[in-house]
Amino acid sequence: MKITHSTKKMCILLFLLLSGINCLAQQKTVTGTVKDADGIVLPGVNIVLKGTNIGASTDEDGNYSIVITGENPVLVFSFIGMENQEIRVTGSSTINVTLRAGSITMDEVVVVGYGTQKKRDITGTVASLNEDRLEVVPNLTISQAIQGAIPGVMMNTSTAGSSPDEVIMIRGRNSITAGNSPLIVVDGVPYGGNLRDINPVDVKSIEVLKDASASAIYGSRGSNGVILVTTKLGKIGKPIISYDGYYSIQSFVKIPNTMTGPQFYEFKNTREPGSISASEQAVYDAGTWIDWYDLALRKGHSTQHNISASGGFQNTSYYFSGGLTDVQGLAKGDDYQRVSIRFNLDTKIAEWFTIGTRTQLTYDDRSGLNVAWDGGSGYDGVFWMNPLTTAYDENGDLTINPWPEQTQIGNPLQRLLADNIDKSYQVVTNNYAILDFPFVKGLQYRINTGVRMRFTNTGTYWGRNTLVGLSVRGESSTNRGQSENYTIENILNYNREFGKHNLFFTGVYSFENYVSSDNSLDATGFPNDFLTWYSAGQAEVRNPDYGYSSNTLISQMLRLNYSYNSRYLLTLTVRRDGYSGFGAETKWGIFPSVALGWNVANEDFFDGLFSNQDLISTLKLRASYGLNGNQAIGAYSTIARMSEQNYIDGINTMPGYIPSTLGMDNLGWESSKTMNVGLDYGLLSGRFSGDLNFYVTNTFDLLLERTISSVHGMTDITQNIGETKNVGFEASIVSRNIVKGNFSWTTSANFSTNKNEIVSLYGIMEDVLDENGNVIGQREIDDVGSGWFIGHPIRVNYNYVWDGIWQLGEEDQAAVYYKYPGGSKVVDQNNDNVIDPDHDRVIQGQRDPKVIWGMDNTFRYNGFTFSFFMYGISGITTTNPLESDNVFGGVYRNTTLKNWWTVNNPTNDWIINDLNGGSNGGINAPKYYSKNFARVKDITFSYDFSSILKSAGFSKLEFYMTGRNLITITKWPGLDPELDAQLALPLQKEFVFGINASF
């Protein structure tokens, strides 16, 4: 059946191909000059033949020349800060144009997923990244560019370093235990790889789909928002060669105030008198104590070179680029190299048939182990390491046992001695064909085939010069992984105007398959260290392993955009998705949405309302409602699994298994209903523009990993239960504060708030009693075990409350709680003289942000540009793990210097420094701190020499200098408020010097 139909399909295609050849039209050259309203010529104006890739731009005198083809050709003139103009080419071959300053935003074409739309016609909430964030500031990754630049998008750096990791969350946390990461789509194809593998220099635009209508086209994966990344393509005309390169130097923003040798000596003697060992005493006496941070850190620097060629000829446009990034991180051993090559091509084989590719090759090398910060064993990380030890022996080699009496404690720097490779190779190639049906105007078929393959190669060898290697006579672990992602998308578009009616229909059928597998070998007991893992065959113990995972997604989507007279807009979408990871009866989900828009400013009556027509140049009201899904659970979650638990008979392995996870065979989608009301505005001829949005998202059938009684033999299970709610407000503004002659000052700012709440969990009700024990109502019960409370945010701090320190004179009261002076006071909420979990734990703040904001100011004067970008988050409350006084019995490890309570220093800052931490069986409460911060992320100064060097042929020659993370305002006492991990590598500040040249 299938074959027959495919054959028929091919016949029809063939027919259409043949019939299309007739309509190749004649060519014609059009020339002209473009000026602004004041009659000043405009260089660099883009001219595109509508509906094609054929384009040109004006030279320094505002002149252009373009070769046009086809019937009823229309030229589109666009220039930043000016309104677009479309001019139909009739008889004349000379067309002079005057562009009017205006509402820049509304004529922009925006990528919306499975196609593009004019911003004017969009009904959903789609935010575009301010181009300056991509162009002006040097970014290592595209996530750096997104951070703080789009309202409602939280981009949190989870770990610092040469190739930092980040967490991205759009419009708050919907899911309690499933993923909250947005879907990322690169050049139209869902991208499952690492964001750092995409070279930001190659990126033309980034759009974020936030509301249900915009993201519902991605159905099952839309509920956490969608980020669309579009890479560059050349324009027909003269080739442009660009070089972009920079060099940066890095130093840390802040390191923890761990104790110095003498401070630690005193701390240890106070805590456990007589516990100073002979070698510690010797180090102390000799004054040779160590600042481990000093040994672990170095000056970081990075270089980046990118070169690209773009342009086009006849019916072909191209963009080639090559980039090299080389980072030497702040921490010793933390290096990163990336080589990326991009190859984008579009070619019109016939008037009605276009093929193209977006292909990227990436090589990523993170070889070398960074020093240990926390330390696996809890005491040999840089942070915890005893300063009264010895890092190097008399030969200048790292000591294996920096603390001779404690031979189990290794050298925090030993990781530098391990042989390590960590490389990956990625190919992403999206190839497509577009068929414009010749006789049905506006009908287009497009097939996308996306392939992403990633290979990873990692290996570590610990030789006998390290503690771990010495103990097992050499240890190696190697792993080779391969992951493949295949996507096939059939897209049918129909886009046509009938008088004042504009119809845009999209239909999609897609298939996505992901397979990953890896094989690894761990070995110990090597005859020598010479051959590292290459001699694993000779090792005494070898443990091979093989991993595998696969999942499949099949989708159908229909979308209808309708507009009447560019005033009344309607979008209807529906998507149906099937995901292999769900239960047999629950694999399919349907996700519909509707959106309405009204361009009020286009109404005739509106013009009459204001004497100055430019007072409000844009006013659009939008409303949308729809259903999205979240499938972010791994494959095989519905299956009850067993795990290996082996036994032996003598020296023979006896394979064993035990039940390890509970399966839920009816597991299905987590769904989100989002209502969004928005307003796009442009004031005073577009001097101010921006948007406002208000949304309510209800997420239900949560993929919830709930805690269950361990009497089951398991302690958790994933189920579809519960509901959360996010309510938020977002505002953005772009303001051209001053535009006077050669000077301009532009501010773009965004602000978003989000209120997150658990609406329901298991639906189990309990009676609410009044003081007399009468039932006065019902409420749903909380899940205290998991720390989830109805009516509160998902991630809250639920704990005892710190209430300062028991002071001298309070001995008797303290004794009631098994405490004594110097110990921490815990608030006894119900004053029953017992600190117990039922009555004395309370909610103390949330761990997700309430407010995120960003502000970018750019000043331009002739060739000079100065900009600074600020970013801030507030509303997070957490503990500071650096404060821990848990240094183990025998005081094995260091901690931060604190104002400890003593008899002579009766402070309320921190508890007494003794073995019991001020408790003799009493319960302690942690201190919570606000993680609010405001940070000057970037300050950039640049100068473009191209106007001076015009004769040399440069269209751009810019030198720039950027300072990153230079100023931070925060009360957070930990390592860095932006980082998740506090016992980790410190965040870097850097100075970047770069050149950007095109000719």
């Binding site: 059946m1 299938k2 028929k8 399909k9 060992s277 002979a278 009496e405 031979t407 189990q408 006789f439 239909g507 059928y509 298939f511 398959n513 007991g525 093989y546 991993g547 099949i554 159908q556 099937g578 995901y579 292999s580 990871g581 095989y636 299956i639 009850a640 699994r641 082996n646 036994y647 032996i648 008979d649 020296i651 023979n652 392995t653 006896m654 394979p655 064993g656 298994y657 035990i658 039940p659 839920m664 009816n666 269950i708 009684s709 361990s710 009497v711 089951h712 033999g713 398991m714 299970i717 189920q719 298991y762 189990i764 075990g785 098994y818 979990p837 183990f888 019995g889 003799n920 069986g921």
Partner: protein, 564 residues
């Protein structure tokens, strides 16, 4: 008109094309169900595993491996699971505290969120669920029971017997630790999550334990099927203990005698095995690597936990790490860091829990069980060569190699005098891996239950039946083997039996269980344990039900034990 006609034609073709497209889409959807089906090649489930005898055998292996964790750490090398039954008693106290030692040192720490306690509760129910799953699936008609040495029925009963005895073993700990606990005999299923567990009265839980043990006793053999599996004698010993708990000493005596009278089970009374040519005492031979198993000559063993270095499934125990003293940092004659860590001295210890002074002094002169072969009380200063290349000991002023340095246990360990580095330690567990003395694990096979304990339970039953003469005879069998002087019926009372148990089973028995069974825990921990014993309260005879278990019982309030 012509144009229009032409357009119409094209339109028709387009519509035709779209119809084809939609059909294709529809067909894809039809086939796509296959693409969406999950048939993971790499995942094992109870449904796929429990279809054959071999599958069930690997389930039993998994179960034994979980049970063996009693001698392992909660997090690999840390937090000995067994510690909660051993530390905080009359013969064991906290020294360098960590883990459960924090509770044993200060009983007010005994609360419902204490991980060393609640994680063991979780672990025991994991064992119970794994056992339940096997017991329930074994009744499936479809199972192919062929294979092995026995008939199909024998194979099936043997599998169920092992699962039941290990379920009983887990409930035994639960009843000692927490009293009334939910009695769960079902397989956990995702579709049947319960939020209204009820605590079953402890007597009913123990009835179930006895029922499971009785079933298992019929099928499990006198000799283990292979190293690491339980024997009939061990089950009989547990039956004797359970009947003592249920106030049925006559039945206890019957089961103890069944085990003792089995000819294959004999006390070790003469030197044998790997170190028989070196100086030593018969009592200690069975603890040496290579001697522990019945197949290696240990006729006294009823259940031995096997460990093996770097063999998949071999795992590693941390008894030595948890008990052996940090002798390498001890001071002798005013000199610190005198001794080198060596294999002969037991490797590296952390002394989280150490013997009480009472336990060390609880022996008469000449008792093999208190000799330096059994309890390390002194060291000989050695040269580098004598230390096997670990370096020469540092000589205190006035000492020479070959001289003896003595531990100091004159003053008992107390809260203000803990962290003792020169404290005697039991040598039943001192094993170190020869090529890496710092290794945190030990890999020798470790006795879990031996015949001496059956004798001691028999004496307890005899005393309960008021047969003091019989009890004295039974106890003397144990005493004479170790050169302790015989006793008479006048000496026999419950305290004497508890003293004798400490002498014989030091660092082996779950002392807390014994003392709770005899109602003597609070009295004796207060009398003999000076680092925490004085803080023990009435309520500490039970642990707190874990807070997460209370919290997860959403629809029915589960009361905790009194005082928590």
């Amino acid at each position: 008109m012509i144009d229009n006609h032409k357009n119409m034609n094209i339109m028709k073709k387009i519509l035709n094309y779209m119809a084809v497209m939609l059909t294709v889409v529809f067909l894809y959807t039809g086939c796509s169900e296959n693409y969406l089906k999950e048939e993971p090649p790499q995942i094992i489930t109870t449904v796929t595993l429990y279809t054959t005898y071999n599958g069930f055998q690997s389930g039993i292996n998994g179960l034994y491996s979980l049970v063996r964790q009693d001698y392992e750490g909660r997090s690999s090398s840390n937090y000995l699971r067994m510690e909660m039954w051993m530390d905080g008693n009359d013969n064991m106290t906290s020294n360098h505290r960590d883990g459960f030692a924090r509770v044993a040192e200060s009983w007010p720490n005994n609360n419902s969120t204490y991980i060393e306690i609640y994680d063991n509760f979780h672990w025991l129910y994991r064992i119970i669920n794994s056992a339940n799953t096997i017991i329930i699936h074994a009744e499936d008609e479809e199972v192919d029971w062929s294979g092995g040495n026995g008939s199909r029925d024998e194979n099936k009963n043997m599998v169920i017997a092992h699962a039941k005895v290990l379920r009983a073993w887990a409930y035994r700990y639960l009843t000692y630790g927490w009293g009334d606990v939910p009695l769960n005999l079902n397989e956990a299923l995702g579709s049947e999550v319960k939020t209204d567990w009820v605590r079953t009265p402890v007597r009913e839980v123990r009835d179930q334990i006895i029922e499971d043990l009785l079933f298992a006793e019929q099928y499990i053999g006198v000799e283990p099927e292979f190293q690491g599996r339980i024997t009939k004698g061990a089950i009989q010993t547990y039956l004797a203990e359970m009947h003592l708990l249920q106030d049925n000493p006559a039945e206890a005596l019957v089961w103890a005698d069944k085990c003792i009278n089995t000819s294959a089970y004999k006390l070790i009374t003469a030197r044998y095995g790997v170190r028989s040519s070196q100086p030593g005492v018969p009592f200690m031979d069975m603890f040496y690597d290579g001697n522990s198993n019945r197949s290696e000559g240990n006729t006294e063993a009823l259940w031995v936990f096997p460990f093996e270095f770097e063999i998949t499934g071999g795992s590693g125990a941390i008894l030595r790490r948890w008990h052996v003293t940090r002798y390498e940092t001890a001071r002798f004659a005013g000199k610190a860091n005198v001794l080198k860590k060596t294999v002969e001295r037991g490797g590296r210890g952390l002394a989280r829990m150490s013997l009480t002074k009472w336990a060390i002094d609880n022996y008469e002169e000449g008792d093999d069980r208190a000799s330096n072969y059994a309890i390390r009380k002194f060291f000989i200063l050695k040269t580098d060569e004598e230390n096997g290349g670990a370096g020469a000991d540092v000589l205190p002023t006035g000492y020479a190699y070959g001289d003896t340095v003595w531990m100091d246990w004159a003053q008992d360990i107390s809260f203000n005098s803990r962290n003792r580095t020169n404290w005697p330690y039991s040598r039943k567990w001192d094993y170190a891996y020869s090529s890496f003395v710092d290794d945190v694990f030990q890999y020798n096979d470790l006795i879990y239950l031996r015949l001496a304990e059956t004798y001691l339970l028999k004496a307890e039953a005899q005393l309960a039946l008021d047969d003091r003469i019989g009890a004295a005879v039974t106890l003397n069998i144990i005493r004479v083997r170790s050169n302790a002087s015989p006793i008479t019926e006048a000496d026999v009372d419950i305290d004497f039996i508890l003293d004798e148990r400490s002498r014989e089973l030091l660092c082996e028995e779950q002392r807390r269980c014994t003392l709770l069974r005899t109602g003597k825990w609070l009295e004796r921990v207060r009398a003999y344990n000076h680092n925490g014993g004085e803080t023990a309260r009435d309520i500490d005879t039970l642990f707190a039900i874990p807070q997460d278990v209370i919290d997860a019982n959403l629809t029915l309030k589960m009361e905790n034990n009194p005082g928590f």
